[in-house]
Every structure is written in C-alpha cells, then in structure tokens.
Amino acid sequence: MLARYIIRRSVQSFFLIWLSTLIGFTIYQAAPGGPVQFLEDDPKATSADVERLATLYGVNRPIVIQYIAWLAGEDWLPQSETWRSGRCLADPDRCGKGIIRLDFGKSFYFKGQPAIDVIIERMPATFILGAASLFLSIVGGLPLGIYAAIKRGRLPDHVIRVSTVLVNTVPHWWLGLLLLIFLGGYLGLVPLSGMYTIGDGSLLDRLHHLILPATVGAIGGWIGFSRILRFEMLEVLNLDYIRTARAKGLSEKAVVYGHALRNAIMPFVTGLSGIFLLALSGSVLFETVFSWPGMGRLFITAVNARDFPVMMALFVIGSFLGVLGLLMVDILYSLVDPRVKYDVAN
C-alpha cells in the first residue's frame, strides 16, 4: 500500500515537472522577439537572410520538434533540416543536449556562459539564506505557538495575535527595507548588502551579513507556524487523553510537551510541504532587498535582460525543487504517521 502510494505520487510529480517544461516552452515561444525578429526591421535584410538565420537556429522547424529538441536534445535526432537546427547539422558539438541533460542553452546576458553554470554558481547563496530562515522560523514559531496556546485568551495570546495581524498588513520585504535603513544605514549594526565583505569572508563576517536577511525571511514562518501550532495545540489540549494525563497527576510541563505537543506537531509537518516553494518565491524579493547574490536576484536580472535561457532554467529548476519538496514531505509524512490515508489526494 505504502509502496503503491509512493509510486503513484512519484508518477504524479514526474507529470507535474513535465507540465512545467511545457508551460515554460509555451511562454518562450509566445514571447516577442527571437533570433530572426531583428532582421525584419532591417531594410537591407533579404528574405534569404531571414531564411538562413531561421534554419541556423532551427526556428522554422515544426513546433513539436522544437519542443522535443529543447527538452531532450537534438543530437539523437535524424540528420535532416526538419529535425535538427542548422548549427547542429554543421557541427555536432553545437547540438543542444536538452534540458533533461541540464543543457538550458547559453545565457544571453552573462557573456555566453551556459545558463546552468550561472545558476549553480548562485544556488548555495539561496540555500544558505533559505535554510537559515527556515531554522529561525521553526526555532521562533513553534515556541510562540505553544506559548499562545497555553496562555489562550490571556494577554500574551492577544499580544501575539495582534502583532501577527499587524505584521501581515505590510509586505515582509518592506519591513526588511525599513530594518535595513535603520539598523544598517543609520545605526550601522548590520551590513547594507551582500553575503560577505570582499576580501574577508570569514564565518563571523558571513553570519553578520546573514542575520538580518534570515530574520526577515523568517517573519512569514513565525506567523504561519505559530498559528498552525496554536490551533493544533488547542485542538489536542481538549482531547480526553490529555484530561487523563492531567487526572493522573502529571505536571503541566509533561502534559504539554510530552503528550500534547507530539500530536499537535503532526499537521505542522504538512505545513512544511510548501516551504520549498515559499522559500524560492521569497528569495526573489528578499534577495533583491538585501542584494543577496542568489537565484532570486539572478532571476530578476534575467527577466529584466530578457535572458530567456536563464529565466526558463530557473523556472524549470524551481518547479523541480518545488515538486520534489512536496513529494518528499508527503512520503516522509506517510512514513511517520501511520494514520495517513493513501487514497485521498488532499
């Protein structure tokens, strides 16, 4: 049963990733511009020139073949102009390998570097920031939720609820900007941008640069996690077995942490499933605010420069990571909680 569930979810995930490549390719095709567009504005260009360029880049092939070549590469396709682009026919080394072999083409903006190299270079920065934010949001959010649940209806609960509502009324990246202005610009407590000081790069220096972006990135997590946990704790604390635990004379601490928390934390794990996607989306705004050299900022640079290979690579890789994150959490959850029903999708 479990094996079947895992297989079914994996097939589903595979399909989702394929779908995201289809979405990406459709946008790519529909976007204005392209290799022969500029010739149409050139009075000296003849239709033969247009034809030659279109053949060279293979943009006059049927759209399905272009998609197959983009997805799986063209080096295994038949040796003819209907199947391969002109470059690939002339020189086998210039054949596309396809995105399944991580060949997303060459970046337009970063001087012809392969798009995947540009991205891999910036991956660690995003993962460091994401992991630090997640760590801070768990460390801060869980106790906050437990505390609010224990103090339900009393002052601390109200303070936590009101402050979370207030913080949610503004974009979190705007709070980041404000903190950056006051803590960084005026008080000089934190650096204004980047991941480390050029020429330094020691652990302490990196932590110093990380602290504010990670804290701001964790705000959403604090609010979300504390809400989920407060709700779940309140549900669990009303159950009979908790009354039993209290009745047999256990200390409040043992009841809350030993008995209630264990069951309340389960739904919290499902709350984690979207975290990859959230972290990825958050990375775009937070990295822009803090000039953090990660994938999110790269993405904005690529979009503004119309660097389609990098844009599409980031979109497909982002979808891949997002789908993979959901799959992993689902499987982990089904392993941890024996009560999971395998046949209900939601």
């Binding site: 946008i27 009324t169 990246w173 900007l177 610009g185 000089g188 979207g274 822009t288 904005i300 503004n304």
Partner: protein, 355 residues
C-alpha cells in the same frame, strides 16, 4: 436566507420595539454597528478611498503638484519642512556609527527645526511644500502616493473580482460534482498551480508581455493565479451541504443543476465568499506592491505603491521617505481591510465562536 430569524443575546430589558425578530442581514448590521474596531476600520478605509478617488482635486488644490511633473533640481529632496532638520538627523546617525556613540544632544535642535519647518509649510500654500519629500526624478512623493492608491486599490478590487469569479465557479462545480471526473480535473489544476513556483511564473509573464504591466492586465494575471484557495474552501463547504434536505428537496422538484448551485447553494456560502473577497483585496495590494517593487509590475510613469519603491534601492538610506511613504499607505489600507474582514467574519456568522 431572508426568512431566517434569530434573536441576539442582550435583548432582555429592552423596550417592545427591540424585541422585533431580526432578519439575517438585520442581525449582521446590528452586530457590525456595535463593533467599534470594525467601524473605525471602515472609517479608515473610507478615508483611503476618498483621498485616492479625490487625488486629482487634492493634488491641484491642496498639494499643488502634478504626480508626473519632474524637477531635476529637486531630486531626492527631503520633506520641505525637514530641510533644516534632515541634515541634523543625518549627523546624528553618523555619530551613532562613530566610536563615541549617539549624540543625543542633537535632538532638541532637530525637533525645533522640524516644528519651525512645519509651521512654515502650513502657511506656504499649494505648490510650495513637499510634505513627504521628492523622489529620484524630483516628483512629489505625497502626490504620487495618493495617485498610486488609485492604481493599487483598483488592482485590489479587480483581482478580487477575477479570483472570486474563478474560485467560486470552480469551487461550486467541484463541490457539487465531488468525486467525479470534473472534481478531479479541478483538483489537478489546483495541484499543478500549487506545485510550480507561481511567483516565478508571474514575473516571467509580466516581464515578457507588456500587456501584463497595465493595471487591468496585472489584475487579470494575479487573479488568474490566485483563485485556488477560494475554490478549495468552497468545495469543502458545498460538499458538506450537498446532501442537506433542502438541496435534495429542490432536486426532487426538478430544479436544474445550475439553479441548485446558484440559487440554493451559493447564498448559503455567500458570507464566506464576502469575507474571502475582502481579504483577497489586501493580498492583491501586497502582491502588486511586490511585483512593481521588483520592476515587473505597473510600468512607469504611472505611480503605484509598489513601483514608487522600485527606484529607491540605490538611495534608500539617503531618502528613506521613498520607502516609508508607500509602505505606510499600504499599511493603512490593508490594516483597514483586514479589520473590516475580521469584523465581517464575526458579524456574518452570528453562531461562530470567537476564537
């Protein structure tokens, strides 16, 4: 719904008049009018709507600036009333970063200079005082702020309309046809949209196709990718009332599927829809701000609360009013929306326990 009546607690000891049984909407209105926080929030919301709708008049007659008039000699100028105190404040922050610590003795000077400046500003008349400074093209930030509200609020309303329409239809249909292929299709679409990085997709679309950088286009985009939550919630609600007696009864009398869905089911979930729609406006305003801040939302020269911050990244420590002003506009608007939504949620469901 209209024939449903209820009596609220707290009616004991009132005159005969007060014992009239309330209709549902009467009870809602009564509860709302007793909720001071919601009333205050409504006042704040009304204020925001008035200053944004009245922006052209305010800009002409009170502020005296045009939102798109550039003035290259006044780039990133501090508020006019702070012309003297701003350098003093900057001096203060410099001392804070120095070795000997903050020089608090500067503050009396900052205050007195600001007050003198404010007094002067009040007497100066339209066109002589930038209340909240100027941006990097010398445009008046306050004027752009109230004009930006026209676009931001419009987008909020449009997005709510688009996403509610899609979400309500999808939720109704998938709840009514739960566990059939129609439900599966809707679920598959929701799952797909839930597992790809939507912000990436939004940015690609808005950055690639200029049509999505107009208020209408951007609203369509945000609404088109923002209906899933509504649909899921409604599906659950519809599913739970699907087998109620009155639905079965209307089916037995031969009512068509559409009639059952829109005449019998929809009114029963309308309170939820209203509340979500209101919260949707707030999240749309925040989303627009994010996209425009990144430079892929509303394009120049039109002001929106998001794109006013877009140009600030290089100079925000020298000109913090570029960041603070639009953010405060967003804060006031979304705060009022959240509080109204919260109040309505309580009022629309008089049986709901407050937790």
């Amino acid at each position: 719904m209209a024939e449903q009546t209820l009596t609220l607690p707290g009616q004991v000891g009132k005159s005969q008049e007060d014992f009239k049984e309330l209709t549902y909407w009467g009870a809602v209105r009564r509860k709302l009018l007793h909720d001071k926080i919601t009333l205050a929030a409504m006042a704040l919301g009304l204020f925001m709507i008035i200053i944004t709708l009245g922006a052209p008049w305010i800009a002409n007659n009170i502020l005296g600036y045009d939102p798109n008039d550039t003035n290259l000699r006044e780039r990133n100028d501090p508020p006019t009333w702070a012309a003297e105190s701003w350098p003093m404040f900057q001096e203060f922050t410099r001392t804070c970063q120095g070795a000997e610590g903050c020089n608090w003795a500067l503050w009396p000077g900052i205050f007195s200079a600001s007050f003198a400046g404010l007094r002067e500003c009040f007497g100066a008349g339209p066109g002589n005082c930038h209340w909240l400074g100027t941006d990097n093209a010398g445009r008046d930030v306050l004027t752009r702020g109230i004009y930006g509200g026209r676009i931001s609020l419009r987008i909020g309303a449009y997005v709510a309309a688009v996403s509610m329409t899609l979400g309500v239809v999808a939720g109704l249909v998938s709840g009514y046809y739960a566990a059939t292929w129609i439900d599966d299709v809707v679920n598959a679409v929701i799952m797909t949209l839930g597992s790809i990085p939507l912000l990436f997709l939004l940015i690609i679309l808005a950055g690639t196709f200029p049509v999505f950088r107009t208020p209408e286009g951007l609203s369509f985009l945000l609404g088109f990718f923002g209906w899933m939550g509504v649909s899921r919630l409604l599906r659950g609600q519809i599913f739970s009332i699907r087998e109620r007696e009155y639905i079965i009864a209307s089916r037995a009398t031969g009512a068509s599927t559409w009639r059952i869905m829109f005449r019998h089911m929809l009114p029963n979930v309308s309170s939820i829809i209203i509340v979500i729609a209101i919260f949707d406006i707030a999240s749309a305003i925040i989303a627009e701000a994010g996209l425009s801040f990144l430079g892929v939302g509303i394009g120049p020269p039109n002001a929106s609360w998001g794109n006013m911050m877009n140009g600030s990244l290089g100079s925000f420590t020298n000109a913090p009013w570029l960041v603070i002003t639009p953010g405060l506009f967003i804060f006031m608007t979304t705060l009022s929306i959240y509080l109204i939504g919260d109040g309505l949620r309580d009022a629309l469901d008089p049986w709901l326990k407050n937790d």
